[in-house]
């Protein structure tokens, strides 16, 4: 269900890492991407929490 998102994110990260190393990301874009990454982390945390309690109920 999320495996393709993981793959896409890995690709996005590699591209971002190269652009950052080249200094090709403006500070405004970097701040915007940082906000996006924080949203991603919060969403992943929410999913982890839901699945963890689902699994513990299941077990």
């Amino acid at each position: 269900m999320f495996d393709d998102i993981v793959e896409e994110l890995e690709i996005e990260y590699e591209i971002l890492e190269k652009r950052v190393a080249e200094g090709a990301v403006s500070i405004e874009e970097a701040r915007y991407l940082l906000e996006q990454a924080e949203i991603l982390r919060r969403m992943a945390d929410g999913i982890i929490s839901s699945l963890t309690s689902y699994i513990s109920r299941y077990e």
Partner: protein
Amino acid sequence: MIDILIEELRLRRKTLEERMIRKDIDIEEARNLLEQARSIKRIAESMISLLSSYIAGREEREIAPPEVTEFIAEDVSAIIEKIADISVLELIILAMAYSKYATPEVKRTADAIKAYYRLTEEEVRIILNVLRGKE
């Protein structure tokens, strides 16, 4: 592109929650999805770390006086060329080697990383200062 992935993740999370309410997910699938969600979190954290350091470095340079900026620019362009392919994990190990977390194993690994990327002590210190938001 990340915003599209966030939107997609939001939709799939909704579907996942509906399926969990219906108990339509077996334990094996749930564990598999948990691993995938952890991977998403790890990548997001790597992005946060990368971007936070980058922003801190850029802000540091913006407030530096011109002569300092010129000096840093020369050093930094040489360093960037050397570490173009360095991974976040390798940077973390280098940072750990110069911290209170410097175990013998971390130091050995950091030495191997320095040798591989042909980094001098001074260059490593510049990299770490930038990552830590210091001059």
